[in-house]
Symmetry: C2
Subunit: 303 residues, 2 copies
């Protein structure tokens, strides 16, 4: 996790911008250009998503350390969308940003190896040649299948200096249906997942005391956030739910200890800042930058 924490320290900004590019977030002038060039097709949708993302990245890359593309919004446009995702990842990395691919992948051992190679490591082609398919810096993971579904990622994390974030306590309203249930002895499912994260990560702890196995903990459950921060000292948190989902700066501050320990995500509030402020659509990226800086200040003031 050192590489991510170094970037956070450099910018003094523990936030990540979620790139969840709904077409309704994109200004008409960009959509019109893509429509003119490619017709009413997936290719046009993917083209305007990529253009939108690139301008957002240009506007934030000197103030925000990381982006988090949410795969669903690219898979929605088929292989054209996946090509836009690939180019978004490459572009963000070329601008020095840390890229957390939000895919929440999960499967049994050999299949998880394939996901690991696809998103963090390298794919084997013919005659031993290897090439990276997506080359993210980090991947979100669902641990329902246990160690078999997480350990295959660890070797790529070590070889290529990458990280993962395992779902612990998610930000959505129904997350408690399973995650809050208590085992005999009053340990919750999310507590247990946290213990597994500490165990999976124990041989990968870096200079800041955090392992390469982080966890997703929602800002919408501040009491849990406080308890989990104390209980799992080597697990770095990726915190969704700030802003549009209702999480406040005082809530997300609970994810930190001594000023580090978490990165806070905001997606819609940043991508749609230009709509909320009813401003010139041509200045959507400036508005995103302003909102990113406002968010940084809002959070850093509480640490």
């Amino acid at each position: 996790m050192d590489r991510l924490i170094d970037k956070i320290k450099k910018f003094m900004n523990p936030t990540v911008v979620g790139l969840d590019p709904n077409l309704s977030y994109i200004p008409d002038y960009i959509k019109k250009e893509s429509l003119n060039n490619f017709g009413n097709t997936f290719k046009a949708a993917a083209d305007c998503i990529l253009k939108f993302n690139m301008q957002i990245i240009d506007a934030i890359c000197d103030v925000v350390p990381a982006v988090k593309p949410q795969m669903a919004y690219y898979e929605l446009y088929g292989y054209d969308g996946i090509l836009a995702l690939h180019k978004t990842i490459s572009y963000a990395k070329s601008k020095g940003m840390y890229v957390i691919v939000d895919g929440k992948r999960n499967d049994i051992g050999t299949t998880m190896e394939a996901y690991s190679r696809a998103y963090l490591g390298k794919t084997e082609l013919f005659n031993g040649k290897e090439h990276s398919a997506f080359d993210g810096d980090s991947l979100t993971v669902n641990g329902y299948l246990g160690s078999d579904g997480v350990k295959p990622l660890l070797s790529d994390c070590l070889t290529y200096d990458k990280t993962i974030f395992v779902l612990m306590k998610t930000s959505n309203p129904s997350s408690g249906e399973l995650q809050d249930k208590q085992f005999n002895g009053n340990e919750t499912v999310y507590d247990y997942m946290g213990s597994m994260c500490e165990e999976w990560g124990k041989d990968t702890i870096g200079k800041y005391g955090y392992s390469k196995v982080g966890a997703v903990v929602g800002a919408t459950y501040p009491d849990e956030l406080r308890k989990l921060r104390a209980r799992f000292p080597h697990t770095f948190f990726l915190v969704p739910g700030y802003g549009a989902q209702g999480g406040k700066a005082d809530d997300v501050a609970l994810a930190f200890k001594d000023g580090i320990g978490a990165i806070i995500n905001s997606s819609r509030a940043i991508l749609c800042a230009w709509q909320k402020n009813d401003c010139d659509p041509f200045k959507f990226a400036d508005q995103a930058r302003k909102e990113a800086i406002r968010m940084k200040k809002d959070i850093v003031a509480r640490l």
Copy 2:
């Protein structure tokens, strides 16, 4: 689930062939042709995977009702791999096969809607135009996030007559780490997930008594399979773990009641039958067909 069960009854064959196309499964003559045409690239890998899949589909489509492409093995080759997946799904459907997209997707509400549209429903483009990105018949899903992460799929399941399979008790060795743990009252995590499947599916029960919300239960845990079949009468089971993973016909027979209630997956044993039998590589598809028929007889004899 009626459309799938109708196909199973037509062929008197409750099995599905997993399309997990590792390059090492593909005969050299196919790989050489793709290498000659596209060089040592993702495009070449995707090309030979598609050719392999199409020949497998041609060889089994009159005896096997369904295929289950495992997304990891396509994502491994980036957007070229996703294009091969798209074409594989289309081709299998054109041959009358039911396509279960094995993606184990999971996320919060609005994002899950995007996955649902991508794999089961239709994607909205510009000016209200809609188009299907992948148009699978079914998608595998991980229910760790609770109802918010499953309910968005139900409306597409109803509108487009599609289904989902939620992970309940998976086939891998470590599945018990979380899934076997007991809540106060001795209910296990997988029991609880099964109860949620019955609840999610209750308004979608078809003519055979099964809902559109199926569940994944591994053949490698036959005791659980027997108990779960009795406990969740409206939940159709997708059963991995037969063959290469160690599940036997006597084990998978426990997933059925009155001859229906489950579909059994085999991937490697069918795709690699030509290697196991050391036969002419040009007859790989014939060998896959023979193994598919052997598997069918093996299982049907126990029902």
